[in-house]
Amino acid sequence: MRVLLAILIVLGPLAGLAADINPQRAKFHYQMHCEGCHTPDGTGAMSVPRMKDQVGLFLETQSGRDYLVRVPGSAISALNDEQLAEVLNWILVEMGGDSVAADFEPYTANEVGDLRVEPLNEVERYRSQLLLEIAEQRSRQAN
């Protein structure tokens, strides 16, 4: 019984996270609304940023976390709040690789709904600035 309890304690949070994602539905929405530019595995191309193994970096700061929702491809997509939250969580789990912490806090529909009302107008400079801030934060934490 103790062993079972221990296993459930360890796996419980992961199972809870997965329960909020319907992988088939999330993948379909990714294909219909994101994949055309971000490519099937999130590698991206040309000026389309790479998400694969990197997208989790943005969760390291609050403004970075907000950015993944406020970026126009997310904010003004035809997906509703629940669908967008699910796709974002699916992208982080499926494509984030080591850039996403195992215990990351998944997006909720309410959070996404609040953030997407302010879509970004200028993205590239904003994104560069965010990455700079994340790098500086890492540097401070390392020292």
Partner: protein, 174 residues
Amino acid sequence: MKIIDRLFERKARSLAQHSSRRSMLRGLGGFLVGASALPLLPVAREASAQTGPTTPQEEGDQTSCDYWRYCAIDGFLCSCCGGTANSCPPGTEMSPITWIGTCRNPVDGRNYVISYNDCCGKSGCGSCLCQRDEGDRPIYRSDKTNDVNWCLGTTSSTYHCSSAIVVGLAFDNK
């Protein structure tokens, strides 16, 4: 070596005295029940979620505009230009950036996700112009319009023809 022998002997005896086969079964049972929870993990679930056929049964002529995969196409069919519905003609490059729609396969009645990757690098093929446009949206929905040149991410932005690749099964809400 004797020290190691004695150490192992002591440990083995201690284990035998303080545990039972029942406790081993209990531990093993707990492990198996726990392991059964593993498919709930995101990656495993994703892998097992691909229940639909990856290459659907299909029929029809790939060089005909009526072919089921072309329901949302707008361009020259690569099948008529030295390529196929899945591949670009020699001397052209497939754009990694593309527009995506869904088409119903009449053979199994299911909807599939179709990626209309353009083939780029040579001037327009000129054969088998096909414009069916199902699901096409005005240009202000730039991700859902086929009225733009999708030769993006390729060496050349010159459009030659369009492919129609099945990339998955559409999600059915029912």
